[in-house]
Symmetry: C2
């Protein structure tokens, strides 16, 4: 129940669960790594300003992850760790779960860096474009 958990976190942090916020949350849940336009289209009753503010809020709470895969920001629910395969030709995006990053081999750059998260995007050509 991803929806309930997200609402719970929202409330738990002292924020009101307004219809607008729930609508944006549902919009995000209804797709994967969507751009602003897509999200807005799924909740046209919510004002633009509120969508921006809500995405900022969700991102700040760690509820939502903001992706930069080119062509503007995209958003997805921040739950399971996964990465993206981005096709440089058609722009399609696929996900994969198996994380090929070995964080233990991270060098210590200029002292101690506290690692909190990482993002990996793999670029190339998808099977359809070949």
């Amino acid at each position: 129940m991803r929806y309930e958990a997200a609402v719970g976190k929202l409330r738990g942090c002292g924020y009101k669960a307004t219809p607008q916020r729930l609508a944006v949350l549902s919009a995000i849940l209804a797709g994967r790594h969507q751009g602003l336009e897509e999200i807005r289209a799924r909740c046209p009753e919510v004002g633009m300003v509120t969508v921006y503010r809500t995405l900022d809020l969700f991102t700040g709470l760690g509820l939502v992850r903001r992706l930069d895969l080119g062509h503007g920001p995209r958003y997805e629910l921040a739950e399971d760790h996964h990465h993206h395969l981005v096709c440089e030709d058609c722009g399609s995006i696929k996900e994969f779960e198996r994380c090929p990053v070995d964080l233990r081999s991270l060098p210590r750059v200029g002292g101690d860096f506290e690692v909190r998260a990482h993002s990996l995007e793999v670029y190339g050509r998808c099977s359809d474009c070949r």
Copy 2:
């Protein structure tokens, strides 16, 4: 001689080595992962439109890499493979060379994806912010 190599590639692809393009190239070479403002400040004699167009051109040629580390696009010369440590508090960016990604363990998602490149960003808190 990163500069010469880049100019060679530019010419080799049939593009003119105009003073503006060389100025933008020098600007990129003068720093690391710079934003548009920084680059523009280093070549104020070049018109804004041309900077945009030139960065697009360089990126398309694979001469320059466009980074999305939050807070707008950044650009750097696409030469040696490296990744970034981004401090979520102060926004500082450090680089590291040792690549902790094992591409062999990439799963085949929906058939054959031809991997051309990948980008890894590690987020957290830098030593200064702790």
